[in-house]
């Protein structure tokens, strides 16, 4: 089964040959752009433009139909008028494995529903599997194929399925800024043939993928989604961003149960029964994926006790409240830890219990290396499950050199290394939007991300991401896989 699904989708994620339908001799169409993008992205397999009359397109020899290429095609990218797509597919004579139909005008509009049926039938007649229609493409770094202008060349552990093409682009671009690395991202649109469920099965089996993200608007076969996720037993974290979760009309409901069941109830149940994490916003989705990419879940000891360390007293008090609402404890330290911190004789104004509020004056002691002593005391006796280091860059502005920030992070990493597997380490870089500060933050975030540290804009975002991780850990803790 695992073997089969990997074999089945390999030509999609690592196509040896690509056909492109809709490119023009004059250039400038989306398919022309696609040809340029995959070449720039380093695609080295054969590219076959399909065109009714042209000899060549973008310097590549063109062919009349999908059935005429010199070798079978692993992946066909199709962006032509909706009505022209079914006849095109029907001519493929079993020589195309996957066709992704970018064109819209199918099932997403009432007048296109019938055409979508025709499209699916044509794909069957042509002997191929169909992705879309009404989508944007696939980004697969292992296959050197991308539909986006900017995409990380490096593969990573995060596999994404997005029902929306535009949101798929957002996920790649924002993810790039945040340090997310993908095993693939596929936009599936109307799912006339291949469903999000099919690709979920692929990512679950795929060795490159450790974390899975889904953006879905309609579950299609929700029952199968439930069964796949239940069967997977949270072997990989799955984060779901669900569009349209609000209560749908159940006007006909006559029982209590019927009137109480909004659409959202089933999704909440899905999460509780399968361990998948439900995200409410795009940022929350990316925040959670980032935590799962960077942090190894600790199901033996689900995350609960969090230490907040950084500058910003009010911010850490607010965060303590928010963390409590998320089921995370920012507990005060016991006497031993407090005594050890007191021995460091930190400057007045430094809190020596949790949350550890350390003003800039404290954080820049020994060029930031003071953090190592503080955190060593905390890790030694406080035994946190997670450490959130939050730095308000506004307060550092004009007072410290960049090295201090790096030294703070390096100090934390040294303590982390001394206590392997004890605490998840996340970094929050707060700023006020001032351009020079934003630039400094961006550069600092990139350096931290390169070290594998998940970086968040606000403590609240880090809290929600840690809560997602804790939820996953608790799920496995309560349902151990070896039982």
């Amino acid at each position: 089964m695992t073997r089969n699904v990997i074999e089945q989708f390999k030509p999609l994620f690592e196509p040896k040959s690509v056909a492109v339908v809709g490119a023009s001799t004059k250039g400038g169409t989306l398919p022309n752009v696609f040809i340029r993008r995959i070449r720039e992205f380093g695609y080295t397999g054969a590219i076959y433009p399909i065109h009714p009359s042209a000899e060549s397109i973008d310097g590549l020899k063109a062919y009349r139909s999908l059935g005429d290429t010199p070798e079978p095609v692993d992946y066909a990218y199709i962006a032509i008028a909706a009505a022209q797509v079914p006849p095109l597919l029907a001519e493929a004579r079993g020589r195309v494995r996957f066709a992704q139909v970018i064109s819209s005008g199918f099932g997403e509009v009432d007048e296109g529903k019938e055409l979508q049926e025709t499209l699916a039938a044509a794909a069957r007649a042509g002997g191929m599997r169909l992705i879309g229609p009404n989508c944007l493409g696939i980004y697969t770094p292992r296959g050197r194929v991308t539909f986006t202008e900017t995409a990380p060349a490096e593969s990573g552990p995060v596999g994404i399925i997005s029902q929306s093409g535009g949101l798929g682009t957002d996920i790649i671009r924002r993810g790039l800024t945040r340090g997310l690395k993908f095993s693939g991202l596929i936009t599936v649109g109307n799912c006339a043939d291949i469903s999000a469920n099919d690709l979920l099965e692929f990512y679950l089996a795929d060795a490159q993928t450790r974390v899975i993200g889904l953006y879905i608007e309609t579950a299609g076969d929700g029952r199968r989604l439930f069964e796949i996720l239940r069967g997977a037993r949270a072997v990989k974290p799955v984060v779901i961003l669900k569009g349209g979760r609000t209560r749908q009309g159940r006007a006909a409901a006559v029982s209590h149960t019927g009137s109480l069941a909004g659409d959202d109830r089933a999704w909440a149940a899905l999460s509780k029964q399968t361990g998948c994490v439900m995200a409410d916003t795009l940022d929350g989705f990316i925040d959670a994926l980032l935590a799962f990419q960077a942090l190894a879940p600790q199901p033996r000891r689900p995350t609960r006790r969090v230490v907040l360390f950084g500058n910003g007293g009010g911010a850490s008090v607010l965060a303590t409240d928010q963390f409590a609402r998320l089921g995370l404890d920012v507990e005060t330290f016991d006497k031993q830890t407090v005594d050890e911190l007191a021995r460091l004789k930190l400057p007045p104004g430094t809190s020596i219990t949790n949350p550890v509020d350390a003003p800039v004056g404290t954080l820049q002691l020994e060029e930031g290396r003071v953090a190592e002593k503080i955190l060593a005391a905390i890790y030694g006796s406080g035994r946190p499950d997670a450490l959130v280091m939050h730095l308000n860059l506004s307060a550092f502005a004009g007072r410290t050199r960049t090295e201090v920030l790096d030294n703070l992070v390096q100090a934390a990493l040294r303590v982390q290394a001394r206590y392997p597997g004890q605490a998840h380490f996340v970094l929050v870089l707060r700023s006020d939007g001032e351009p020079a500060l934003e630039e400094r933050k961006r550069a600092f975030r990139a350096r931290a991300a390169a070290l594998g540290i998940p970086v968040y804009d606000e403590i609240a975002n880090a809290g929600a991401a840690l809560a997602a991780l804790a939820f996953h850990e608790r799920f496995i803790h309560a349902r151990p896989r070896d039982s």
């Binding site: 929700g222 409901a253 006559v254 149960t257 109480l260 089933a266 149940a269 509780k272 029964q273």
Partner: protein, 234 residues
């Protein structure tokens, strides 16, 4: 197997959109869920005569496909102690204005459940996910506060336990405010019999659009389904 599906098959044959209370309880009983001992009678004399086989106090309920909310329609009388009271109660109920235009299939005379905490267990066919099972605490908890937990069927024992933990009123089952704790195990058993792997909803999910066991009365020792409603799929 035929006996299991009989109440649904009979309702389908009679082209009814829902199971009446007695049929609903037969369906529950066939899945091992406790229901009160009861007798269906057609008139006051038969009701009075049936008293001998039941242990008072008794409750009398009208059975009618036209009456959805029996209490509101004057179709429930509780605390009946003997044949005379039961006979009078049937006669009084038949004269109630809400009964005049309703089809009356009879009257259900049944033993009253011992006191306990009222729980609601429900079921639902979700268009995307198939059968869902629900639990909540009775009265205002369900009706006003919507304090309920849903799961997709089939549920495991751990799912059932987590459903109860999820309720804001969960403490009531544990014996809040000086009361004796009631049996959480009994509620979990009912949840599994309704929503578990071989439960009612996994067996008949195609036929059941909505289900309510309301109330399920839970005591220290067990749980008993005092009223049940099943709406069939179209």
């Amino acid at each position: 197997m035929t006996t299991l599906t009989a109440p649904i098959a009979e309702a389908r044959a009679a082209k009814r959109a829902a199971l009446d209370e007695l049929a609903g309880k037969r369906l529950l009983a066939s899945f091992g869920i406790s229901v009160p001992k009861s007798v269906l009678v057609q008139d006051a004399d038969a009701a009075a005569a049936a008293c001998g086989s039941l242990k008072p106090p008794l409750v009398l309920k009208v059975v009618s496909p036209d009456i959805l909310h029996k209490s509101d329609a004057g179709g429930v009388k509780v605390g009946l102690e003997g044949a005379v009271e039961v006979g009078d109660a049937v006669r009084a109920m038949m004269k109630h204005p809400a009964m005049e235009n309703a089809r009356i299939d009879g009257f259900l005379l049944e033993e009253m459940a011992p006191a306990g905490v009222e729980v609601v267990v429900g079921g639902l066919r979700d268009p995307q996910f198939g059968p869902l099972v629900m639990v909540g605490l009775g009265g205002v908890f369900v009706e006003v506060l919507a304090d309920v937990a849903f799961r997709i069927c089939p549920i495991t024992r751990l799912d059932a336990e987590e459903m109860l933990d999820e309720l804001k009123g969960a403490a009531l089952l544990r014996g809040a405010r000086g009361r004796k704790p009631v049996s959480r195990e009994a509620v979990m058993d009912v949840l599994l019999k309704v929503g578990g792997e071989r439960g009612l909803l996994m067996t008949h999910g195609e036929d059941i659009a909505e289900a309510d066991i309301n109330p399920l009365i839970v005591s220290e020792h067990g749980a008993i389904a005092v009223d049940a409603r099943f709406v069939l799929t179209q």
